[in-house]
Symmetry: C2
């Protein structure tokens, strides 16, 4: 299967899997972002993924193009973190190839990435020295000669998606292994997602609600997995408090992409 | 918006719309064909749609390629009728262009189409002189010099999808007008689908269950539309009796494609 198809299938399988605590899924929309917005992004991003597959453009520029292509609907940012993980995976085909791609990124990739970041409404830390909303950030990147890899390394302490670039996609690898262990079919996605949530705090939740809430979600996920908490009520609890594990969903997409490439069957 | 994107969005919006009496939708799978199978087909068909957009191959060959590309999953045929309608619409951009494309089809297109038909498990009439399961059909097509347009004309009496080729996509046109009348957003798709179901019998239902059942579904849809029958119970009734208005779903997809091209907004 072509890498572009695999990437789009991974995104589709992630968003339709149900129940997925707090996130948009087959049976749950957000107020302003619906399942259709996610699926529209999955369709509209195709040319950027083909660009990644052909290696025609830099990683940063391809992420920027992906954000542009999926910005035509009214659902806002749906997949920024997923693009950060998938573009190198498509360009390199697998984790080994992706790791080599991200190490070769340039300052120009970093500048394109910041342009992309500025188009989304992704939350940043207020204390951030390289805030994307600050026009001086571009100058700082250039003067410090920071590549996109360096930017990810800089963010890796407080962002599990950025950290994947630096540590060889280790959480993605773990998710792919879990998927394969859990066996074929969509219920394995739900089980793997719970495993990942229980493994460590989601940094998207931490940025939005604080580390304490992120840790509580992690504990509750572990309880669901161990049978001492009900999945449906955990889902509803997350929804009621607007807690959405967005970064772990991005990791989940990357894990499905990798597992599909290693023979995992979504379709039992 | 590019025709290929429009076609994929139309397919996505049709399958996720809910509730859709008897068909796979956001909240309902069939036993062996799920929402994910439909969405996988929508992703995997892309290169065939691009081929149609570029006008590189014949209409019949492009339908054959679409069936091949979407045949890799275990959900069986999901969109054969939709491909018959969409491939000329993409090649011609709009209804006017599609009408001109279908008139130019050849005997070779008809042969490719029969190859595609043979790969699906679409129901045919037992009395059919040009049965796709009969190897003699190809010889008959050649000896009678029948183009794909002629094949559709031959089938148009008992198949509303084939009839669209012959009557200038008139039901597709009606559906697009209804969508625009009903206004933006996904609920207009549900309303338009009910309008189409109430307008005339679905020939897919007629082939599977007989004309009487197809007429009953038409009457019940009219009752739902007029408020004297409940939509959820009509949906459940169709599901319980395995009645799925598959041909009208294909028309619905074509109508969404046309309406999107005329400025209809799925995203209010």
């Amino acid at each position: 299967m072509r890498a572009v198809d695999r990437a789009q299938l991974a995104m589709m399988l992630e968003v339709t899997a149900f129940p997925k605590p707090g996130n948009v899924d087959r049976c749950h929309d957000y107020e302003t972002t619906t399942l259709e917005h996610f699926l529209a992004s999955i369709i509209l991003v195709r040319p950027a993924f083909e660009q990644a597959e052909l290696g025609r453009m830099g990683i940063g520029r391809t992420i920027l193009d992906a954000v542009r292509m999926t910005g035509s609907h009214k659902g806002g940012n749906t997949h920024f973190g997923a693009f950060i993980l998938l573009v190198p995976l498509i360009a390199g085909n697998d984790i080994g190839g992706a790791v080599s791609c991200v190490k070769q990124t340039s300052v120009e990739d970093a500048l394109d990435f910041y342009r992309a970041f500025g188009m989304t409404q992704v939350r940043v830390l207020e204390s951030d020295d390289l805030d994307v909303n600050d026009p001086k950030s571009a100058e700082k990147l250039k003067s410090r000669n920071m590549t996109l890899f360096d930017v990810m390394a800089y963010s890796s302490g407080h962002d599990i998606v950025a950290r994947e670039w630096v540590n060889g996609y280790s959480l993605t690898r773990m998710g792919a292994d879990l998927l394969i262990d859990h066996g074929c079919g969509r219920q394995s996605i739900v089980r793997t997602f719970l495993d990942l949530l229980a493994y460590e705090p989601d940094t998207f939740i931490a940025k939005k609600h604080g580390q304490q809430v992120a840790l509580q979600v992690m504990e509750k996920a572990a309880e669901v997995r161990d049978g001492s908490r009900d999945l449906a009520s955990f889902d509803q609890d997350c929804i009621d408090h607007r807690i959405n594990p967005g970064s772990m969903a991005d990791i989940m997409i990357a894990s499905i992409y990798v597992a599909l490439g290693e023979g995992w069957q979504w379709d039992c």
